[in-house]
């Protein structure tokens, strides 16, 4: 019986990086939480490729949670340089939107200003990272278990038929 545990870290790092980058890029991030769930599914597919036997839902949950945490770190790190880009873009965006302000739904100014609000603070960064990591880990668990149902149910290869001559010296 093979008691080796699956290698969770490498698939989680690869898929977490992909999901973190995609969820951090402005406009591409409109897919909301689905990038994280998709990233965890990707991590499970990578894990399934590197694991000889079928995966359990627990394996998917572990690799998914790790993927979510990695994605949260990447997403938070990406938000630092993107903040300046966002501010410039949102300023131009607000100027053009101001012409149509009577046609905009209520609350649009708040939404736009949220993109530019506040400078960088280390405490705020770590608080945001902590909250993101917790939420992304939960979403990652979901994606990881979905990935198991899609990719992790491999059949165990049948053991070779016993030799009719019995064990040889080489096997002893």
């Amino acid at each position: 019986m093979n008691n080796q545990r699956p290698e969770y870290l490498v698939p989680a790092l690869i898929a977490g990086a992909v999901a973190g980058v995609l969820s951090g890029i402005p406009f591409v991030n409109c897919l909301c939480c689905l990038w994280i769930i998709g990233g965890a599914v990707l991590a499970t597919s990578l894990l399934a490729k590197n694991t000889p036997g079928p995966l359990t839902a627990g394996d998917g949950a572990i690799v998914g949670a790790l993927t979510g945490i990695v994605a949260a770190v990447i997403d938070s790190l990406m938000s630092i340089p993107l903040r300046a880009v966002n501010e410039a873009f949102v300023r131009r965006f607000m100027e053009s939107l101001a012409r149509f302000s009577d046609q905009m739904p209520a609350g649009w100014q708040d939404w736009v200003q949220r993109g530019t609000a506040g400078g960088f603070s280390l405490a705020g960064f770590f608080l945001g990272l902590f909250v993101s990591a917790a939420i992304f880990a939960i979403l990652g668990v979901l994606g990881g278990v979905i990935g198991v149902s899609l990719f992790g149910r491999k059949k165990i290869p049948a053991p070779p038929p016993p030799s009719p001559q019995g064990p040889t010296d080489a096997t002893l």
């Binding site: 997403d75 993101s132 149902s149």
Partner: protein
């Protein structure tokens, strides 16, 4: 002398029965039931709190509790674009998540309500991959169509497709977390030496 042997239950995976992998957890029916109930309780409370926070943000905003409302909106910002035109409104302000995300979370809550009737607490099993793909098609088509500019769905369509998809999600979440919790005692009991005789 051995007492009555506990019934050992192998955690099932979906579809046809097949062998589990090397860490196939063995747990008694009572342990499985207790664990699934625990996970269910925490998930249900957590989902209610999550849904409550989505509605609380605009409510607080309408009551001029700006800081608290901003904090709640900020909590949801990593998981949703929060575009006002794609959101439902409550007390005159957009909810903390868009219509599609609200549908997913509402569907998740509905799935949790259905869960005990559909699955019970005594067994854990993943839904079939085919069912997942089937329920993902509407939300996927709606998203891709919107992205390609083929159509601009109204919010109720976004909500409905998200809801449909969200219904199946608790069946995955419950299975994954329950099995994860069941692993440790199972592994511990597997490591125990066999009784003599």
């Amino acid at each position: 002398m051995m007492t009555a042997q506990k019934e050992k239950v192998r955690i099932r995976h979906p579809g046809r029965a097949h062998d589990m992998n090397k860490s196939a957890p063995l747990a008694s029916a009572a342990v499985i039931r207790r664990t699934v109930l625990l996970v269910y309780g925490f998930t249900f409370i957590g989902t209610l709190a999550w849904m409550g926070a989505i509605f609380l943000a605009p409510y607080l905003k309408s009551r001029s509790s700006g800081a608290a409302a901003s904090f709640l909106y900020a909590i949801f910002s990593p998981v949703c674009h929060q575009i006002p035109s794609r959101s439902f409104y409550f007390h005159g302000f957009p909810l903390a998540v868009c219509g599609r995300c609200l549908g997913i979370y509402a569907g998740f809550l509905a799935g949790l309500v259905i869960y005990p009737f559909a699955r019970g607490f005594s067994k854990i099993a993943l839904p079939s991959g085919r069912l997942f793909i089937l329920l993902s098609l509407p939300v996927g088509a709606d998203f891709v169509g919107g992205l390609l500019g083929l159509w601009a769905s109204p919010n109720w369509i976004r909500f409905s497709t998200g809801f449909l998809w969200g219904v199946i999600l608790p069946f995955y979440f419950m299975t994954g977390v329950s099995e994860l919790l069941l692993r440790r005692p199972a592994r511990k009991s597997n490591d125990e030496p066999a009784p003599p005789g």
